[in-house]
């Protein structure tokens, strides 16, 4: 039998939910449904959507590739400054994305401290490129997979890994065959959150990579640019993002917070 919730809690919860849901409802109410055909069939929308999917998936892949090892180090490594390292690694979550973009610009831009060298030695320029958009997006979204995976690893009894190691497996083997499968749910939830965040990335991308249709203009940037010339179109493009993101979050459901 379910416990009855206090009325006050229900009222406050309803307020909180209404506050978050209202803007989404407003988008649906105010959307110029009459022009949905022209907006969605326009080259701009499909180009931006395709680029958004490519950029967000690439950013998620990179985040997993380096974020999971990072989580492993944070969870199992015993070294000084681990808490500081964790704070620095997850910093992009709380930083305004535009700050991340400026940071990337002075680090990896054509005149940046590392970027200058990349440009002079290899002719490699990241700003104004799709690769740059992927980097900016990764910067902002990777911490989510790190945190989720570390949380999973810490909830795991290290004796499983030790047992695997005692049976003669290398620590890499133990991680791959024992640890990884056990944290798979958290890792998957982290990956989905990372992807959802990547799909919505705006500030770091426009600051570092710029805004050009087909190259760096992802959906959020297309929404922003559309606001200038076609506010109704901007609402319709926003709704695409809302529907895609909400769909994913609903599909993943309780797994997001480790309930399943």
């Amino acid at each position: 039998m379910r416990a009855r919730l206090p009325l006050l809690v229900i009222v406050l919860a309803a307020l909180g939910a209404a506050f978050v849901i209202l803007p989404v409802v407003a988008l649906f109410v105010r959307a110029p449904w009459g022009q949905i055909g022209t907006t969605l069939s326009g080259v701009g929308a499909s180009t931006a959507l395709r680029l958004s999917l490519e950029v967000s998936l690439a950013a998620t892949a990179i985040s997993l590739l380096v974020g999971v090892p990072l989580a492993w180090v944070l969870a199992r490594g015993a070294f000084r400054g681990r808490d500081v390292l964790r704070a620095l690694v997850v910093l992009p979550i709380v930083l305004p994305p535009v700050v991340g973009g400026i940071g990337l610009l002075v680090a990896l831009g054509r005149g940046g401290i590392v970027g200058r060298w990349l440009f002079e030695a290899f002719g490699l320029q990241l700003t104004f490129t799709t690769a740059g958009a992927v980097l900016a997006t990764t910067f902002v979204s990777m911490p989510l997979v790190v945190l989720a995976t570390e949380s999973g690893l810490r909830g795991l009894d290290p004796r499983y890994e030790r047992a695997a190691a005692a049976m003669g497996g290398s620590s890499w083997y133990a991680f791959r065959r024992v640890t990884l499968p056990m944290v798979a749910p958290q890792l998957a939830a982290g990956a989905v959150l990372t992807w959802a965040r990547a799909l919505g990335e705006f500030g770091a991308t426009i600051t570092f990579a710029g805004n050009l249709a087909g190259r760096t203009q992802t959906m959020p940037l297309a929404v922003y640019e559309a606001r200038q010339v076609d506010p109704g179109g901007a609402i319709l493009l926003s709704l695409i993002l809302v529907v895609v993101s909400a769909g994913v979050l609903i599909a993943v459901g309780g797994r997001l917070i480790g309930l399943r």
Binding site: V94, P96, F128, L147, E201, G210, L212, V229
Partner: protein, 262 residues
Amino acid sequence: MSRRVRRWTILLAVAGLTAGCTDSSSPGTSPPPATQLTVFAASSLSKAFDQIGQDFQTLNPGIRVTFDYGSSTELAAQIQSEGTADVFASASGTAMDTVQDDPGVSNRTNFATNRLLIITPPDNPAGIDSLQDLTKDGVQLVLAAEGVPVGDYAREVLKNAGILDQALANVVSNEEDDASVVGKITSGEADVAIVYTSDIAVAGDTVRSVDIPDDVNVTATYPIAVVTGSPYPDQARAFASYVTTIEGQDVLEQFGFGPPGG
């Protein structure tokens, strides 16, 4: 510990998902010591208006002026949806027309003009010496997006020069407003941009400029007006007319703007 990390995960995840966008700062929320006047102004005006605002406040201690700078087109849309501006200073007549239709304006006056010019980083990496050079292969050109006044003016210049399509092929980014375009050049990321003449008064040595011939250049005329519905119409009128006084015009000239007559 795992609990704590997990709680962090949830909190930060939520924070991360919601922190997606940044927007131009809204006017301050501290309790107003005096009449709080909100002026929406084109981003090209930012430095000149910061100065004019200070001078105006010195002359009118009872009025505090807060500025919100951005693309005029977007500011116009914000005025229509939020209606929070007392005064609107636009970089184009078109954006002002939008506001004039809804919610309406009064005391509309043209107060400044601007011309366009080409800027490059000081070391001029792409060797730009004329408007024609914008069509050279591999040049990284930055413009403001279509719909942003300076972006539309720049496209007009390119069209006048008959190089619109070739130049657009070199565009690497369509920026959200004038200030962002200048930023891409001062940071050295792009090779060249078309911006307002007034921008070099601010950017100074951080950019190198190349003139655009008069026969293809365009003049941007800046109107200012009091927004209908402002709770402080008298103070708003006072600010709008201060901009057209000799003192206001001096500051505008100092920041590279031309007189309203052209």
